[in-house]
């Protein structure tokens, strides 16, 4: 029964993705990716997206990452009912997902090999790009489970707080470096979505 449900879920998700992909492409040019642009490290985020310690009550253990796509915030759970909150950029409509994953790999100034499905949607993207300040993955990347998704930096700090990506979560380079130093490989990452009507 569970397997059948899971299959049905995957099937529905696949249909959803198939339906939403051309739509997203037609409606929104991919303003979020601009390989080669050098990140403006002096860019000042709105207070809403600035890193800050907030009250956060949860049953998840300290050290867990909780991503709230609807809020565009990433929480790193701390002891004592607190969390460090970072502003993030999330997936475009149709490119959002939820679930529980672990950080499986960490990389500094990662190289970028856009996955084939991304190349298909955005043919102008490079097939490979070496790590560096012009790389859309920015200063750090944390791999999420076996998915193609990452928590990474960005060369477009102005996209924090928006829905732009293909499903990845982006932070400004300063913040992603801060987060990177706080979380080891194996860290639990909970990704939450807005409820559906």
């Amino acid at each position: 029964m569970t397997d059948f449900r899971r299959l049905t879920g995957i099937f529905i998700a696949a249909i959803g993705l198939a339906l939403s992909t051309p739509h997203a492409q037609a409606q929104q040019p991919d303003r979020g990716d601009e390989p080669g642009l050098i990140a403006d490290d002096g860019y000042e985020l709105d207070p809403e997206w600035q890193k800050q310690v907030v009250y956060f009550r949860t049953t998840e253990a300290p050290g867990t990452i909780i991503v709230s796509t609807a809020e565009r915030h990433l929480y790193l759970v701390q002891p004592g009912g607190r969390a460090i909150r970072y502003g993030i950029g999330v997936g475009r409509d149709g490119f959002q997902w939820q679930g529980l994953v672990n950080i499986t790999q960490k990389k500094e100034w990662p190289d970028w090999t856009p996955p084939p499905e991304m190349i298909q949607r955005q043919p102008y993207l490079p097939r490979f790009m070496a790590g560096g300040p012009g790389n859309p993955l920015g200063a750090r990347a944390m791999y999420l489970g076996t998915t193609v998704y990452r928590i990474h930096g960005t060369n477009r700090p102005d996209t924090i707080g928006t829905k732009v990506s293909s499903g990845c979560f982006r932070l400004v380079n300063r913040d992603v470096a801060d987060l990177y130093d706080r979380v080891p490989v194996g860290t639990k990452v909970v990704i939450r979505q807005k409820p559906e009507l």
Binding site: V53, Y55, F56, R57, G80, R82
Partner: protein
């Protein structure tokens, strides 16, 4: 013939008496819902001027979190948020004025406490905003918790509960501190801004408002900890259950709407939803609205005109406002906070 005329007179007298009683009954009917409906507007007792919560502009248009909540009640009853009329009340007189029926509801940053319900014969239906005393300090001090504030000079207003809360907190945690107090809030802020103390203590909602007036607001932060409980809630009179139920469930409906993802932006979509919880909320299933003495679509009216709890929060005091108070404790219970509404079923 005589007996017929006598009977007629007695009948007439009885009719007049019944009529008079009915008029008197109508006039003295203490049920607020009935009186409100007959009057055609809700009388809301609000704070004279508290940025983010209730403040009039120079044309007399009121805005704020407390103001919007009263508009939500008006929308639930009249399908028109402009049927809320605002009466500015002082802190000292507010409970007596609610009791003497000058207003139908207090929507005015009042802390819910047992003594207030008992002393004034009032009722606080549900918590609209969890507040509490906290600390503001320069960002450069790089502190993450108020337990790190030992040895601090604390600026605080004299004669407030904050003063007592600070004393209790430092004593309970075996921390030394120095009290720097002033009678006027302006002097407290000035002293802090000119570096005469290390931290300023007041209710957290107030700290965010005070920060706006500092010479460099961005250089200061408010710690997430609260050292006292100040649950702010609307207030109604006791033994006025129909009215109390409307006020209580209007707030809970707004919180439940946020939890279910129903907002002013997707309310038309929500009306087509087949999810039972959403259907009960918007009245496409069940008739809770009618049981409250309203219409089936009462929540739709609230959400369409005022929005859900999160929308009301963001617009007035949250990230989309000048104050930018993080949701903190006022986030939903399943997203890091303690805002929790009983289910509507």
């Amino acid at each position: 013939m005589r007996t017929f005329r006598g009977g007629l007179l007695i009948g007439l007298a009885v009719a007049v008496l019944v009529g008079a009683l009915a008029v008197i009954y109508e006039f003295y009917d203490t049920r607020t819902l009935k009186r409100t409906v007959r009057r055609g507007e809700v009388l809301c007792g609000v704070n004279k001027g508290l940025p983010g919560f209730s403040i009039p502009d120079d044309k007399g248009n009121w805005t704020g979190f407390d103001v919007d909540f009263c508009r939500a009640v008006a929308a639930a009853i009249f399908n028109d948020p402009n049927k809320a009329k605002f009466v500015a009340l002082d802190a000292s007189e507010r409970f007596k004025e609610l009791q003497s029926r000058k207003v139908d509801i207090l929507s005015r940053n009042s802390t819910w406490s047992m003594a207030r319900e008992l002393d004034y014969d009032l009722y606080f239906p549900a918590v609209a905003y969890y507040d509490g005393a906290g600390f503001m300090l320069p960002r450069a001090r790089n502190k993450e918790t108020s337990l790190d504030l030992t040895g601090s000079k604390v600026c605080v207003q004299a004669g407030t509960t904050t003063l007592l809360n600070v004393a209790d907190y430092f004593r309970a945690n075996n921390m030394k501190y120095e009290e720097v107090k002033f009678d006027k809030l302006d002097d407290v802020v000035k002293a802090y801004d000119t570096g005469k103390c290390d931290t300023l203590s007041a209710d957290v909602s107030q700290l965010y408002a005070l920060r706006l007036n500092l010479s460099k607001p961005g250089d200061h932060m408010i710690l997430p900890d609260m050292i006292s409980k100040e649950p702010l809630a609307p207030v109604v009179r006791q033994r006025d259950d129909d009215w109390m139920m409307i006020v209580k469930w209007t707030l809970y409906a707004m919180i439940n709407a946020e939890e279910l993802g129903v907002s002013s932006e997707n309310i038309d979509e929500a009306l087509k939803s087949k999810k039972p919880e959403v259907m009960r909320l918007v009245g496409t299933e069940g008739n809770y609205g009618e049981q409250l003495g309203l219409t089936k679509d009462w929540v739709v009216r609230v959400i369409r005109h005022v929005g859900n709890y999160g929308e009301m929060y963001d617009r007035n005091i949250g990230e989309k406002s000048k104050l930018k108070i993080p949701r903190g404790m006022n986030q939903l219970w399943n997203a890091g906070g303690v805002q929790y509404a009983p289910p509507m079923r």
